[in-house]
């Protein structure tokens, strides 16, 4: 779990995204290119498109002097499954004509959703969020991911014992799942790098 930044809840999300990514969602001119190219934005699959998420963030900033209304727009962005469905493929960021780091914004939204306890509660988002949290927890503790314990922890939390179970033997055969724990050569150095990046002005993981 990333450590919460001080007072970050008081700042509009647009501001937090600007701090984290160096780009402003206020620059979005709603062309829709991110929504058009998002591989997760399949018919019926995404309630709120990335373009609409950008708009909600703009509206939060626009109504900054009306906190009730601004919070409502922020809440809808944070509660939407969209940040959790985001694969981080960066297609949107790469293509955005205004140079907005949309995928980076999704990172901030995930982080803030967890921090404010607003993350989407639907089953699919919950699965992804759990995986996300377990992955980060492991990586931040040991500087390295081991597939089998990660899968086991995920299944433990979500209870999906049979999900993807059939893939297990094949993955084992091909050496994709290692039964023996492996450690990073120098865990301390990896953890330091993560810590450094978190302290940098562009923000951490």
């Amino acid at each position: 779990m990333p450590t919460p930044k001080p007072n970050s809840a008081a700042l509009p999300l647009a501001e937090l995204i600007a701090q984290a990514t160096g780009t402003s969602v206020l620059h979005c001119y709603q062309c829709g290119r991110c929504a058009a190219g998002c591989p997760q934005n399949q018919p019926g699959a995404m309630e709120i498109s990335p373009t609409r998420v950008m708009r909600l963030l703009q509206l939060e900033a626009a109504f900054a002097d009306d906190p009730a209304r601004a919070n409502e727009f922020a809440r809808r962005a944070l509660q939407s499954p969209t940040p959790w469905l985001c694969l981080g493929c960066q297609a949107c960021t790469t293509r955005c004509p205004q140079g907005v780091d949309i995928a980076g914004a999704m990172d901030v939204l995930r982080e803030q959703a967890l921090q404010r306890d607003l993350a989407a509660k639907d089953r699919r988002s919950g699965d992804i969020r759990t995986f996300h949290q377990q992955f980060l927890a492991k990586a931040l503790r040991r500087g390295r991911i081991e597939e089998l314990p990660l899968i086991l922890r995920y299944k433990l939390v979500r209870g999906h014992w049979r999900q993807d179970a059939a893939l297990g033997p094949a993955m084992l055969r091909r050496g994709k799942l290692k039964l023996k724990n492996s450690h990073s050569a120098d865990t301390r150095q990896v953890l330091k790098a993560i810590d450094d990046s978190r302290r940098s002005p562009r923000g951490g993981p």
Binding site: L26, H27, Y29, Q30, R52, L59, A62
Partner: protein, 665 residues
């Protein structure tokens, strides 16, 4: 017996491939009245032309037919050839064997038969041709520019710099028009006054420009090159030849609470006043409706205090007539008043203002000295909502068009507001943001990205006052059309640009067209954008349609170029293809009955009334007469004439009927 020469051109293979040209020439030779016929590969080439010249002389030809391409291509060429050989050029006709025969047919024998028929028809026509002489129309090397806004100023300056004398007519007392009212101009934010006033002064001091402000066009007679314009110089009640513009009168006038037109009603003026301190000429006029002297007979303070005795309550409107060769119409536009928008706080709320009013609020020379203060209580507005497309793009209320300038000036307004009121919030309600122009989209994005202007995508449904604020019912279609109520301290309507209210009267005086909305019509939307359908009258600026300053100035310079081009001739020479009312000897004089159906049909106002009188001056009858200077030879009058009294030279009934009969035979 006529002696007609026929020249059949192969046009390389264009005609020769499909039409048997030697056979056509041979057939032509057998047509009665044809003295000579020959075919040639390229008749338009120099040897081809030499052949024609030689034949005209050798056979003393009385008519010439060139069977070749379209007359649009080479009629002029071959008529020149005829003239060079001493034959009246209007005795030369083109028989179109290319566009109307070889290019549209495949069967050689049928095409050849059709070509022969076309030649036969042309021979019959040419036998009826009569020699015609070009019409020379004298020219007055002088121009009238109507309207003293930026369009009129620019046109007048360009024409005057070309060495032609200009009368610059303006109905307000000062030059400047709307541009003088603006605060800053997009997309550079340079001050409007700073760039305009030097031009106003330049126009006023130019030796070739005669300024006629506080004057209006009364009537127009004549035609291209020879207009007589009657101008009404409205009574100013101040003798401008004595007035020095010292300002004593307007400082001392007791009537100080009159809503100032120049300030769009946000400021006050006196009964004797100048519109702004930058007025050119800087001389006042008395507003008769508000002057105490005129209302009660008592006062006359201005007259008593004037150091040069310039005030004259007895002054009357003056009328005078000037001769000019061309006219530039640069009468501009106006904007819809807020009273038009009943749904927007009843159309009379002090804190709902128009874009032009906001210009005055933002202007350093305006009623608030450039501070943004709302009219109701003078407070600085913390939230301003700008409503775009107010009255534009709304066919249901009569205007389908886009006013073109509002997107940009709204971005500018919102930007100026954010610069002037720190921490103030600016919302813009828009359908689209249209920014075609150099540096325009960048300007709009700057308003959003740097100056934090919030754009919401919807029209304002309704605006109503509540607790000292205005509630604006809006939505954001970019967020699924979700309804948003905005609480504003000030609402600025980007109200539609509309034509001047009296533009139709003016257009009728000038005999130029206007569209259903009232914008003056150009002769061709793309290729003749500054000409009107009336020769010698040109358009500049927003009178033709909503336009920003760069477009206006560009069109004004274009109109000036057209004026200078026209006036660079010694006289106007025109093709004599004009309509003519048939005359006959007394006692009939003419079969014309004087019904003037032709006058109603003529698109060029070329039909005049002619009174036929006997030698004692007794009236006999009134018949129509065609003004050859105005007639464009369209033939509309010929077709509507019930008594068949009008004919079109070069296309007479005789010529057309003979040609058709020959085709049928």
């Amino acid at each position: 017996m006529s002696k007609i020469g026929v020249f059949i051109c192969h046009c390389g293979e264009n005609i020769g491939k499909t039409v048997d040209c030697p056979a056509v020439a041979a057939a032509a030779r057998r047509i009665p009245g044809v003295a000579y016929a020959v075919d040639y590969r390229y008749t338009c080439s120099e040897p081809g032309q030499a052949q024609i010249r030689a034949a005209i002389k050798q056979y003393s030809l009385t008519g010439l037919i060139v069977g070749a391409c379209s007359p649009r291509m080479h009629e002029r060429t071959f008529r020149k050839v005829a003239a060079a050989a001493g034959l009246n050029p209007y005795l030369c006709e083109i028989a179109n064997l290319r566009e109307q025969c070889s290019w549209v047919h495949a069967d050689r024998s049928a095409a050849t038969a059709k070509a022969i028929a076309i030649i036969r028809s042309a021979v019959a026509r040419v036998q009826c041709n009569t020699p015609l002489l070009p019409i020379h129309v004298p020219l007055t090397r002088r121009a009238l520019v109507i309207g003293g806004g930026i369009a009129g100023i620019q046109a007048a300056l360009d024409i005057a710099d070309g060495g032609v004398e200009v009368i610059l007519l303006e109905r307000a007392s000062s030059l400047g028009g709307h541009m003088a009212q603006l605060s800053e101009t997009f997309p550079t934010l340079d001050c409007s006054q700073c760039i305009l006033t030097p031009r106003m002064v330049e126009a006023a001091s130019h030796p070739k420009i005669r300024l006629e402000t506080y004057s209006e066009l009364e009537r127009v007679d004549g035609y291209v090159g020879n207009f007589q314009v009657t101008i009404r110089r409205k009574a100013r009640y101040v003798d401008w030849s004595k007035c020095t513009g010292c300002g004593t009168c307007w400082q001392k006038c007791p009537q100080k609470k009159i809503a100032a037109e120049f300030e769009e009603g946000l400021g006050r003026r006196t009964a004797i006043s100048i519109p702004s301190p930058q007025a050119v000429p800087n001389k006042p006029v008395i507003d008769r409706a508000n002057c105490l002297k005129f209302k009660t007979g008592k006062c006359g303070i201005c007259q008593k205090l004037c150091p040069t005795q310039a005030v004259n309550f007895e002054q009357k409107d003056e009328f005078f007539t000037e001769a000019v060769g061309t006219i530039v119409v640069a009468t501009g536009f106006q904007t819809l008043g807020k009273e038009y928008f009943e749904l927007y706080a009843g159309g009379d709320h002090p804190d709902v203002i128009t874009g032009l009013q906001f210009e005055r609020l933002a202007s350093a020379s305006g009623p608030t000295g450039g501070e943004i203060r709302r009219p109701s209580d003078g407070q600085e507005p913390r939230t301003v909502v700008f409503v775009q497309c107010a009255g534009s793009r709304e066919p249901a209320t009569g205007r389908a068009y886009c006013s073109k300038i509002c997107c940009m000036y709204t971005a500018k307004h919102a930007m100026l507001y954010r610069h002037k009121v720190h921490g103030g919030r600016a919302f813009v309600l828009c359908m689209d943001v249209r920014t075609p122009g150099k540096g325009y989209d960048e300007f709009y994005r700057r308003a959003v990205e740097q100056d934090g202007v919030n754009y919401l995508r919807s029209r304002a449904a309704r605006i109503y006052p509540e607790n000292g604020q205005l509630v604006v019912e809006a939505a954001d279609t970019l967020n699924g059309g979700e309804r948003l109520e905005l609480r504003a301290d000030l609402v600025v309507l980007a109200s539609a640009a509309i034509p001047q209210s009296d533009v139709r009267t003016l257009a009728q005086k000038l005999g130029i067209g206007y569209d259903a909305d009232g914008w003056l019509s150009e002769a061709h939307p793309k290729l003749r954008p500054v000409e009107t359908n009336t020769a010698g009258i040109f358009l500049a600026g927003a009178a033709q349609g909503p336009k920003d300053i760069p477009d206006t100035v560009g069109q004004a310079s274009a109109a000036a170029a057209k004026v200078l081009g026209l006036l660079s001739n010694q006289d106007l020479q025109r093709d004599p293809i004009v309509a003519r009312v048939r005359r006959m000897p007394p006692p009939e004089y003419s079969t014309c009955l004087g019904c003037f159906a032709c006058a109603a049909a003529c698109p060029y106002q070329a039909i005049e009334k002619e009174e036929i009188k006997d030698r004692h001056g007794e009236w006999i009858k009134t018949i129509a007469r065609v003004n050859a200077g105005l007639c464009q030879g369209c033939g509309t009058c010929v077709s509507v004439c019930r008594s068949k009294s009008i004919d079109l030279d070069g296309f007479t009934d005789d010529q057309m009927c003979s040609a058709l009969e020959a085709l049928g035979g």
